[in-house]
């Protein structure tokens, strides 16, 4: 009976109920969009590293965290020296230049990288032929509306698109290594080195060899490096997520508090009727809380649906800059945050309703 009473109350004022559900859905979408954005970026970067075919990565000693592009401090001769080590099959130095974060243009020695990774998969066109050529991945091609034969202006330089590659390997934008080195005034230097060993069983041995060289660079297996791609490892992401969650609770609280307060005012007489029938404070509070919880459940479901819409919109408009995903594992958390806001928000109007004097409530016009 309580369920019917709650449901009929919500159905009785459909516009108020729908607006409340919509407003409660907004923070759910915000939370899921933020998490989807962060994890999408990380997963995309992770995938692009994994598909390089490398076993070990060497970064500059000044590299901090995961998403770090610290110029070109490694001399190219180090690449050659590493390649001389036993069990090292191939070493490829690359240079990254951040253009419009999180977008990065990567300078790469294409023939060597092809040997390491098996090469880019070309959806259109083919590899570099001239110094001003650039390869773009499908996501960037969609975002920038560019294709083979077009010109893109990056780093104050016009590049000729010669190939559209399948996304998910090393870079979204790739140019010749020596060209980017010249543009960055970093001739003869690279930013990081990918190392492939002759047999995965020898990775530990090569790691020991490389550490024994005492270069001072950061040396990790690719497995270790990829494992660093978690939100907790990126400065500020965790805190920002907590702030958005707190905002979600506050919005849910305010929406429900206002909505239920208005609802209790409108239903003063009905509360008086229930009290005249013998309904106690607990019963009245339960009804108000149950209504808020139902609105919270509706808000969560709508918020999840809207997060799919937000994801579609972002991936349609900026698929290269923000490879957003829908993170289903966060649905229960988003729901809990909404229900917490709803429960707290309904408490004040619920207690007000429960405390109402039955005679005054029955006389309410």
């Amino acid at each position: 009976m309580t369920g019917r009473l709650v449901l009929e109350n919500l159905k009785h004022r459909p516009m108020r109920s729908l607006l409340s559900v919509l407003l409660m859905g907004v923070p759910v979408t915000l939370i899921l969009a933020l998490v989807g954005l962060t994890q999408g970026l990380l997963q995309d970067s992770q995938r692009r590293q994994q598909n390089t075919g490398a076993d070990i990565i060497i970064r500059a000693s000044t590299a901090s965290g995961v998403v770090s592009f610290s110029g070109a401090p490694i001399p190219e001769k180090v690449v050659a020296k590493i390649e001389e080590q036993p069990h090292v099959k191939l070493a490829v130095g690359v240079l990254n230049h951040s253009i419009d974060p999180p977008l990065v243009i990567t300078g790469v020695d294409l023939p060597r990288f092809d040997r390491m990774s098996g090469g880019f998969v070309y959806q259109k066109g083919g590899p570099f032929k001239n110094p001003g050529d650039i390869l773009i991945d499908e996501a960037y091609a969609t975002q920038a509306h560019k294709t083979v034969g077009d010109t893109v202006t990056l780093l104050n330089h016009d590049w000729h698109v010669v190939g559209v590659i399948e996304p998910g390997k090393l870079a979204r934008l790739a140019v010749q290594l020596n060209v980017l080195q010249d543009l960055d005034a970093a001739t003869g230097h690279v930013g990081q080195i990918y190392v492939k060993v002759d047999d995965p069983a020898n990775i530990d041995t090569v790691m020991q060899e490389l550490n024994g060289l005492e270069t001072g660079y950061k040396i990790n297996t690719l497995e270790e490096y990829v494992a660093m791609y978690t939100p907790g490892k990126i400065s500020g992401v965790k805190e920002f997520t907590v702030v958005i969650m707190a905002i979600g609770v506050v919005i849910g609280f305010c929406v429900v508090c206002l909505s239920m307060y208005m609802s209790v005012l409108q239903r003063t007489r009905e509360i008086g009727i229930l009290k005249s029938l013998g309904a106690g404070k607990g019963f009245i509070l339960t009804i108000i809380e149950a209504e808020a919880m139902l609105l919270g459940v509706g808000g969560t479901i709508l918020g999840i649906v809207m997060s799919f819409g937000a994801c579609w919109l972002v991936r349609t408009l900026v698929p290269a800059s923000i490879p957003m995903i829908v993170v289903q594992s966060w649905w229960p958390m988003a729901g809990l945050i909404t229900l917490l806001g709803a429960g707290l928000g309904a408490l004040y109007p619920g207690l007000n309703a429960a405390r109402q004097d039955p005679i005054e409530a029955l006389a309410y016009e």
Binding site: M1, E8, H12, I273, K275, S276, L277, G278, D357
Partner: protein, 224 residues
């Protein structure tokens, strides 16, 4: 009509505080109602009859004096005790019907049973009462789709569904035309005669008051 008193008040007083002024609404009411009696209370506005109704119904506590309803001393009751009294011992019928607008007539009755802790279907006697009220075919309609007379008969059904010791009716015909007023009063008299339901009815209307076994008059917070 049995002989035992089901309502008994002695020197019952109620004073409301309006701003900084004390306004006496009841100034010492002595009243005895026997079980099975149909009592009409008449009096002008401000005479205190509604306050008496509210105290006997457990909607508000008295300021002083004694009041016993169905063997329970209301003067010493807490708010929770009065809630229990309304749940089990008293049924209300109001001038404005006071049905929950978002529930059907059937669910308006069911909610009263639910609050009283009765979860099964109503007993056969109640089904008979529904038939006699002439609203059995209108149970699946919401109040807005019912006439005033039908709403008041549903309100009566709701008030007696838990077999309360007392049915309190506050101007039950005040919002009805003469035809529907007569029908409602006939229903109340029928409930009293067939089921022995104790009824205390407040009214302005002398014709309505004439349906009761006895009539008491109130003026200035006293029974005269």
């Amino acid at each position: 009509m049995s002989d035992g008193p089901i309502i008994e008040t002695r020197d019952l007083r109620k004073t409301y505080r309006v701003g900084k002024v004390d306004v006496p609404a009841l100034r010492g009411v002595d009243l005895t109602v026997t079980a099975g009696e149909f009592l009409a209370i008449v009096g002008p506005s401000g005479s205190g009859k509604s306050t008496l109704f509210h105290i006997i119904g457990g909607l508000t506590p008295p300021t002083a004096g004694q009041v016993r309803v169905a063997g329970q001393d209301l003067a010493s009751m807490t708010d929770s005790d009065r809630t229990r009294l309304r749940k089990r011992s008293v049924g209300f019928v109001f001038q404005k019907f006071n049905l929950l607008p978002n529930l059907t007539a059937r669910h308006n009755i069911a909610v009263a049973r639910f609050i009283a802790g009765n979860t099964g279907p109503p007993d056969g006697q109640f089904e008979e009462v529904l038939q006699s009220l002439g609203v059995a075919q209108r149970l699946d309609h919401k109040p807005a789709a019912l006439s005033g007379g039908e709403q008041q008969r549903i309100a009566i059904a709701r008030a007696i569904v838990n077999h309360p010791a007392i049915l309190l009716a506050d101007e039950p015909t005040g919002n009805l035309d003469s035809e529907n007023s007569k029908a409602v009063l006939e229903v109340l008299r029928d409930l009293n005669e067939r089921l022995g339901q104790t009824i205390l009815m407040i009214t302005h209307n002398p014709e309505a008051a004439a349906y009761g076994h006895r009539m008491v008059q109130m003026r200035d917070g006293r029974i005269i």
